[in-house]
Structures are given as C-alpha cells and as structure tokens.
C-alpha cells in the first residue's frame, strides 16, 4: 500500500513538473521573434543600424508590444560581409526559427542572405542597401532603400550642367559602390570622356599611385564611390598633396557627417548625392532626440540610420495587421504606400525596392548645404 502511494506521489510530482515546465516554456514563446543582420562591429558599425533597430523595438515593447505580445530581437553581427551575414542568417532561420529578418544593413550582407531567406520563405526587409542587384530578387525580399542606379544619373547631370567633360572615377569593388560608378560612366560617356576608371579593394590604405594616375589623366572632376567612409578622407588628402585641382564628387557614403565635420576645410566644395529627406521633419527630430538620449551621440548617418529605425515599425504594423506569418507580412509590404517614418515617406514598388529620390548636397564654408 505504501509503495503504491509512493508511486502515485511520483506520478503526480512528474506531471506537475511537466505542466509547470510547459507553462514556463509556452510563456517564453509569447513573443514575436524578429531577426537582425547588420554590422555591429567593424567599419560599417558606425551607421548605427543596430542601435536604431534596438531603440525602435524598446519603444514598441515599452508601449505594450504588438497587440500585447512583446518583440524579441535576435541580433547577428553581419560585419557588412557575406560570410558573417550568411552565418547569422542561418542561425536566425534554422535555430531561432524567425519569420522576419531586418537586414542586411549594407548591400554585401543583404545580397548574400537573400536567396537563403527566399528559399525558406522568411521575410527579409533590408535597409542601407542600394545595390541595383537587389531589385526584384524574390517574393519575400524587400528593402526600404532605393536602388543606387539613380545616383549615377543625378551626378552625371550635375557634371554636364557645370560644363565639365573629363571625369575620373575611383570606386571600391563592392556590390554597392561599383554599380554607381558604372552608371555614372555610362552617363558621362554620352557628353564627355571618362579619363580614368579604376577600382580598389576594401581595406586599401594607400592611394598615392591611384591619385598620381588621376592627376596624370588631366581629369577636371574626380568621382569617388566608396563603401566604407574611411577611404574618402585618405583619397581627398592624397589628391590635395599631389596638387590636384579637380572638383570632387562623391556617392552618398562620402557625405558621412562625422568625417566631414572633423575636417571641413579639406572637403570644401565637394558635391555628393543624398537621398532627399527632410532632416527637420517632426518625426526625424523625435527620432534623433531619442537616439541622442539613449546613446549620447547624434544620429550618425541621418537618412540611413533613420530608415533602419523605420523598418521596425513597418514590420510591427505588418504583424499587427496580418499576423506573424511570412505570407501575411509579404502581402502587407507589397501594398505599402505612403508609410510616414523618420526617414520620410516610404512606399515599395513592384521590384520590392523603396521609392525614394536623390538630391545633391555640397560642403560650403564647412557646412553641409543643399547644392543649387
């Protein structure tokens, strides 16, 4: 009899433990898992995408989450390279089982993980990704950024309008930077001459001979298309040291505030593209204030950091309306028009690209102003 009671006691005990564990574990699944792939370390980390995304998620969670459920951010450091991004996405998809990945946060990352997301029907919403190769990649692949193909056109129109014809183009060999250079080359060849067209690999720390070639080519305009902002400063410095008087144009990366602000005199007169957006809009000011409060620094990359932040709200809205389901979110994103965010109005076109426009800015008396 005693033995029987003991057995019964154990059965009850085991059942209780199982039930308690079930409750505990079902409790932890009461969150929406959202993956993040982006540079958390390395030169591209200074875009602040991770900080912006975390800020947005904290904000949503503080207000009660998405219809009562909290968002759980699982972040993987893509370091802006294919290898780390793929490793991160693999973990997010197969181990964590996320349905949505925010990322990549630069073209090399986004392109590397896109087929993985597509095959596994995981929504991928990239930001800071402008490579034309990313357009129309697949059903589940989206971005908030525009395709950079438009930048080349804006620059070549400006060069033409100024009456220059001899252009040197130096670009970093990456999926983002090269297409801009290639587009500009096509544009310039319609009215002028590309006297120098060359590439450099990421991490190059000396441009003296490239600069010597540019000086020799007699270029009136030098267009720099880097991926990481580090190179801009060194190229411009070495151009000046070798006595180049060519006017400097750059892609949107060259417009890095922190680099220009530290050395405004050497960038005087540089003209660069930037996505048109209003840095005085109420939503952007609110975002930049929160960012500064939380991290103690200014938003490092204006539009780009802001769009990483906006992407979180877009996804939260999608989950809120259509549930935590890849096809539901896909339907929401495909129909997205006129979303008002801190980086401006976001719509998504048929190629799943963000619809944005570019304008030109310049450094005048040490300040970044609109180029007229």
């Amino acid at each position: 009899m005693d033995k029987k009671r003991l057995v019964n006691f154990f059965i009850v005990l085991v059942l209780t433990i199982v039930i308690v564990l079930l409750i505990i574990f079902s409790g932890t699944t009461e969150t929406y898992k959202i993956g993040y792939v982006g540079a958390m370390t390395g030169p591209m980390a200074k875009y602040g995408s991770y900080e912006a995304v975390s800020l947005a998620i904290d904000e949503i969670n503080d207000k009660g989450g998405i219809s009562g459920k909290q968002i759980e951010l699982i972040a993987e450091d893509g370091k802006c390279n294919a290898q780390d991004a793929v490793a991160g996405a693999n973990k997010l998809i197969f181990q964590d089982g996320v349905k949505v990945i925010l990322g990549g946060h630069c073209s090399p990352e986004s392109l590397a993980i896109a087929s993985l997301s597509e095959e596994n029907k995981v929504i991928q919403l990239a930001s800071i990704t402008t490579s034309p190769k990313y357009s129309d990649f697949g059903d589940y692949i989206f971005r908030t950024s525009p395709s950079s193909a438009v930048q080349g056109e804006v620059i070549s129109n400006a060069i033409k309008a100024q009456g220059y014809t001899k252009v040197a183009i130096l670009f970093e060999k990456t999926d983002y930077a090269e297409p801009i250079a290639a587009n500009l080359k096509t544009g310039v060849e319609k009215f002028g001459q590309v006297v120098y067209y060359d590439q450099y690999v990421t991490g190059t720390n000396d441009f003296k001979t490239e600069v010597s070639k540019i000086v020799e080519s007699g270029a009136e305009i030098v267009f720099i298309s880097p991926q990481a902002p580090d190179a801009t400063l060194l190229i411009v410095k070495q151009l000046l040291e070798q006595g180049s008087t060519a006017k400097i144009f750059g892609n949107d990366v060259t417009g890095n505030l922190s680099v220009i602000e530290k050395d405004p005199t050497i960038f005087e007169g540089m003209i660069f593209t930037t996505p048109s957006f209003d840095s005085n809009s109420e939503m952007y000011l609110m975002f930049s204030q929160k960012y500064k409060e939380k991290y103690g620094v200014d938003v490092p990359y204006g539009f780009w950091t802001a769009e990483s932040y906006d992407a979180v709200f877009i996804i939260a809205n999608a989950i809120n309306e259509n549930g935590y389901d890849s096809d539901g979110i896909k339907t929401y994103l495909e129909a997205l028009t006129g979303f008002k965010g801190s980086s401006g109005t976001i719509s998504i076109n048929a190629l799943h690209d963000g619809i944005r426009s570019y304008s030109l800015r310049t450094v005048k008396s040490g300040k970044i102003v609109n180029y007229e």
């Binding site: 370390t41 390395g42 030169p43 980390a45 200074k46 060999k173 060359d198 590439q199 450099y200 690999v201 991490g203 190059t204 720390n205 000396d206 441009f207 003296k208 001979t209 490239e210 010597s212 070639k213 020799e216 902002p229 580090d230 400063l233 060194l234 410095k237 000046l240 040291e241 070798q242 006595g243 922190s258 680099v259 530290k262 050395d263 005199t265 050497i266």
Partner: protein, 288 residues
C-alpha cells in the same frame, strides 16, 4: 610620372620596412611569427595621434615610444614567456599573437571609436622633387626610416646586445653555454621591436588616416616584405619591404589598382616557392 610612382613606393615601402624590422627582430630570438607586432604599431599610431594635440610632435613620439616598449614588455613577460616556458609550439604562439592583435584592435575601437582619424595638421601640397610631388612629412618619413635602419644595423653589428641577438638567433643552446642570458636578450629584442613599432605607428599617423584595424594591414605587408627579403636578415627585410612597395605601386600604375594586394601576395608565393629563405636569407642564424 614614373618617378612619382617610385616616390610613392619609397614612402609606403619605408613604413613596411619599419614594421618588418621590428617583426624580424623578435622572430630571430624567439622563432615564432609575432603578428602581435601589428598591435604595437596600431597602439602607437593612436597614442601618437591623440597625444599630439597636447604635447606636440616630440612629446607625442615619446608617449608612443614608451607605451610601445612597455606594451611589448608586458605582453612578452605575461604571455609569450609563460607559454614558451610551458613549451608551447610555434603555432600556438602564432595564434596567441593574432589574439593579441585582435584584442588590441577591439580595445582601440571601443576607446577611440571606429571613425577614421587624421593627425590635426593642415594638408599642404607636396614639394616638387624632379617632377614628383612629396610633402615635407613624407620626406621626413623616408629619411628617418633610413637613419633608424642604419642605427639598427650598427646595433646588430657593433654592440654587445647585437652580438647576443645574433648568437641567440644562430644557436640558443650554445649561446647559453657561453654565458649569454637568452631571456634577457629576448626581452631586449621585444623592447627594441617596441621602439621600431612606435616609429612605424608614428609614420602612419603622420601620413595616413588611421582606423582601429590599421595594424593588421601594415603588419601583413611588413610580413610579406620580411619574407621576400629573408625573415632572418635585417637588411634583407628592409630591402624586401621596398620591393613590396615598388611592386604594389608599379602594379597599380601599369595594371589595375584592384590588384595591389594580389600583387603583394603573388610576390610572397613566388618567393616561398623559388627561394623560401628570402632574397638575402640564410638557412640558419641571422644576418645583420
């Protein structure tokens, strides 16, 4: 214009040479490839740049130099020496030295942020030297490099420390038998390498833009230079470094600048295949 390319190659070659010589010195005494030397270079570059604003060129140089020597001393005493005492293999030591490099780079990034930094001096157009442009700072770098390298050569050939270094490199056991304290000589080699690393860091700070990973890039090029010239010869590694500079820059001039790194490594492979001991290397010991 080809002379301009030569000038460009001499400037960057000088920096590779400074890195290579420090690296070669510790290699000859310990026989392991100390990639942690890149950390010494990066640390000095940052400390020079930061302290320059407060104490000027000379003061900043002293700061960088003392810190680099102290850093090398501490890393050797607390890390490499203990591992060597435990008979760690050369591969383990190589991996540990990579660890030192990565750890220091990460600390630099945390402390100084990842943003590129430039020494707070105005940028001026270079002087005209037979049609090539070269700035005063760049002339200074080339001259100081040559002077330093002559000094190292004299130390190696004419002083007791130099004799000790060469003896240890040649046959550590025999050197011990003759009463040389090999531990002291190894410490000395690390400290001299610290001074050379600091000068390399200073030169990089003076003429380039630095980021936390600055040490890795120059360390690899310095290594290629050292292998090209001979890992166990001081003047060979200097010569090799200038060869790397020349190959890279003429390669970028005649072909395509995207191939710059590829050219450097192509040179490394060729050397390893046809002359593994380097242009001036010998199979055992060290040359001055």
């Amino acid at each position: 214009m080809l002379f301009q390319v030569f000038v460009n190659a001499m400037i960057v070659g000088s920096i590779y040479a400074l890195v290579a010589v420090g690296f070669v010195l510790t290699y000859t005494t310990t026989k392991f490839l100390n990639f942690g030397h890149g950390a010494t270079v990066a640390l000095s570059a940052y400390l020079f740049l930061v302290s320059f604003d407060y104490v000027g060129y000379f003061g900043a140089f002293i700061v960088a130099c003392l810190s680099a020597v102290l850093f090398n001393f501490v890393v050797y005493q607390f890390l490499y020496k203990r591992l060597m005492g435990k008979k760690a293999s050369k591969v383990i030591l190589l991996l540990v030295s990579f660890g030192v490099l990565i750890a220091v780079e990460s600390i630099i990034q945390i402390v100084f942020s990842a943003s590129p930094r430039r020494l707070n001096v105005p940028i001026v157009e270079g002087l005209n030297l037979f049609g090539a442009k070269i700035t005063g700072i760049q002339i200074f770098i080339v001259i100081i490099t040559i002077l330093i390298l002559i000094a190292v050569w004299i130390v190696m050939k004419k002083t007791k420390v130099g004799l000790g270094l060469r003896a240890i490199a040649d046959n550590p056991d025999l050197a011990e038998v003759y009463g040389l304290n090999s531990k002291k000589i190894i410490v000395a080699s690390f400290m001299i390498a610290g001074v050379l690393g600091a000068i390399a860091g200073m030169a990089i700070s003076l003429d380039y833009v630095i980021t936390p990973t600055v040490g890795t890039g120059y360390m690899i090029k310095g290594f290629v230079g050292a292998v090209t010239g001979g890992l166990n010869t001081v003047y060979g590694s200097i010569f090799g470094s200038y060869v790397v500079g020349l190959f890279e820059n003429y390669g970028a001039w005649f072909f395509n600048s995207g191939y710059k790194d590829a050219i450097a490594f192509f040179l490394l492979f060729i050397m390893l295949i046809i002359r593994p001991q380097g242009l001036f290397g010998i199979k055992k010991g060290i040359r001055g």
